[in-house]
């Protein structure tokens, strides 16, 4: 049985990776999961300098999902390169570094800094809804998506994944803009902007007022957008949004995703990634699928 997939020349042993921001750099999860099993680890977003993130409360549960407004707290690229990359190097998995920034220059700074590091791909976060500058502001306008992609591609030594926001009228416009800018791969969806109010205290549940919604609740929206995007561009698509089970992952693959990311599910099932890899193999066996590539985008 062949579960290998190819993303812009990078071969993953299977299509299951982690979603940025839900898995740290893998250290905390290595107590529960054999990282060698994963197709790739996508790290939490890293910026050129340390970021403090938002005030607490930063997370809130919602029906079948959750909201977060971490605000991209991260230790900065220097610590990341010294501490997190050497940790990940020990494992037989691909390393994808998620890059965030407040300005284009911030992003380019990190991209250049990672050029000579043992990093397989870069994922550019232009879709975080929880920061005032950067993030989603870059990801909701097609000209800006194309521009930032182009500039990053000029500097990047590794293949570039552009991570798109679902908070747009037409996801295909953004997908095509990333492709036009030279993106090697696109990944979607980042979180949907949501809100929760504490009616007893009559205040927002999150200090940031709004947060990014994730978890099984968002899956139908994510699947629809992945389907639309995969049918709009020629570059590979990484699908994510509420994937908790192998069945969920297979839905995304059938819809056109070459690989999938597991995010919020890690929070309530630390073994979710490996459970999903095992489940995909079971499904392939049960359906007589020899190569997972046979079913990528099979449902049209």
């Amino acid at each position: 049985m062949n579960t290998k997939v190819n993303l812009a020349g990078v071969e993953l042993k299977n299509p299951v990776m982690t979603a940025s921001g839900t898995f740290g750099s893998g250290m905390e999860y290595s107590e529960f999961v054999d990282l060698n099993r994963l197709g790739a680890v996508v790290t939490k977003g890293v910026a050129n300098v340390p970021w403090e993130g938002n005030p607490v409360p930063r997370v809130a549960e919602t029906y079948g999902g959750m909201l977060n407004a971490i605000g991209l707290q991260n230790p900065g690229i220097d610590t990341f390169v010294k501490r997190d990359l050497p940790f990940l190097e020990k494992y037989d998995t691909k390393v994808i570094v998620n890059v965030c920034g407040r300005t284009l220059e911030d992003y380019l700074d990190v991209v250049e800094r990672l050029g000579d590091e043992k990093v397989d791909m870069l994922e550019i976060n232009i879709s975080c809804p929880n920061v005032k500058e950067g993030g989603i502001a870059f990801g909701q306008n097609e000209k800006s998506v194309e521009h930032i992609t182009k500039e990053i591609k000029k500097k990047a030594k590794q293949p570039v994944i552009m991570k798109l926001s679902p908070n747009v009228t037409d996801i295909t416009v953004m997908a095509k803009a990333a492709e036009a800018g030279g993106a090697d791969v696109i990944s979607l969806i980042n979180t949907l902007t949501g809100m929760k109010i504490d009616i007893e205290r009559q205040t927002f549940a999150l200090a940031n007022k709004t947060g990014g919604m994730s978890g099984p609740a968002v899956k139908p929206v994510a699947l629809r957008m992945v389907y639309q995007a995969a049918n709009a561009v020629k570059i590979p698509v990484i699908g994510m949004g509420g994937i908790s089970t192998a069945e969920d992952a297979i839905e995304f693959i059938l819809a056109g995703a070459t690989a999938v990311s597991v995010g919020t599910a890690n929070f309530y099932n630390p073994n979710a990634t490996v459970d999903i890899i095992n489940g995909i193999e079971d499904y392939m066996e049960r359906h007589g699928i020899n190569d997972i590539k046979e079913i990528i985008g099979k449902v049209k």
């Binding site: 921001g21 839900t22 905390e28 403090e52 993130g53 607490v56 930063r58 997370v59 230790p75 929070f267």
Partner: protein, 260 residues
């Protein structure tokens, strides 16, 4: 920080200790044998609409029977679900989580309010087992719906404060400390933020040690999501900013480390 285990535990028994406060003994595999006072566990709901684990503090540890006593207040749909569990029911648990208190040989005052009281029971038990003789507990309640005072009394002298004055000193734990003129060399505390602030000020004024246990909304409970941070006075070496994670760097902090 001890190793964490995710297990399906079996409920041994459950009772309502006072209005909305439940105590549940669960049989674990490895969690109980690895737990120390001040640590907590994550409990998972069976209902699929409530995904995130609930951090619940450990009230008592029976290492021999690999059992844990969890005492919690029903505050929402998740804890409501836990309170409906009966003997033989199963529940998913991850733990033990966090650092727990650092036990000292000096005279100890355990200061706790409301649902911060449960961890004090195991703490008092282990301090006593360690040979600390001078242990005092000050427990703050809303009203005469007390809980766990009998358990605490097995190991230490207990003073009570109630907001409505129906039992012990009227007011909060600090009022009780003043009223009864209590002293100790080390303070161990758990409870609402204003209480922890008062305890910190008391420690600073008396130039004594205080270990305070913080609470914050969490998602993963294992240090990855960065949901449950607290502000630190110095830059933290892990985060490279003035943030520490309550779940794994805490929940217990030296009061001088954190900004409340």
């Amino acid at each position: 920080m001890s190793e964490k285990y995710k297990e399906i535990a079996e409920v041994i028994c459950q009772e309502e200790l006072s209005d909305g406060i439940f105590g549940m003994w669960i049989k674990t595999d490895k969690i109980a044998t690895n737990a120390v006072p001040g640590q907590f566990v994550s409990l998972y709901c069976a209902d699929g609409s409530k995904l995130l684990p609930r951090p619940i503090s450990i009230c008592e540890i029976n290492a021999e029977k690999t059992a844990l006593r969890l005492v919690y207040r029903v505050v929402g749909k998740g804890t409501k679900e836990f309170s409906s569990l009966r003997s033989m029911n199963k529940i998913e648990v991850l733990g033990p989580i966090g650092n727990g208190y650092t036990l000292k040989n000096n005279s100890a005052m355990l200061i706790a309010g409301g649902i911060g009281i449960p961890p004090m029971v195991e703490l008092a038990k282990e301090l006593k087992a360690r040979g600390v003789n001078d242990i005092t507990a000050v427990a703050g309640y809303r009203n005469n719906q007390l809980f766990l005072t009998e358990e605490l009394e097995k190991y230490c002298k207990v003073y009570v404060a109630t907001e409505d004055g129906s039992c012990g000193a009227r007011g909060n734990v600090m009022d009780a400390i003043r009223e009864y003129g209590l002293h100790a060399e080390v303070l161990y505390s758990c409870g609402p933020k204003p209480m922890l602030k008062a305890v910190s000020e008391f420690a600073a004024a008396n130039n004594i040690e205080a270990q305070i246990s913080l609470e914050e909304r969490m998602a993963c409970g294992i240090g990855a999501c960065l949901g449950c941070v607290c502000k630190t006075k110095e830059k933290d070496s892990h985060s490279q900013v003035n943030n520490k994670r309550v779940c794994v760097d805490g929940p217990v902090f030296d009061y001088r480390e954190v900004q409340l």
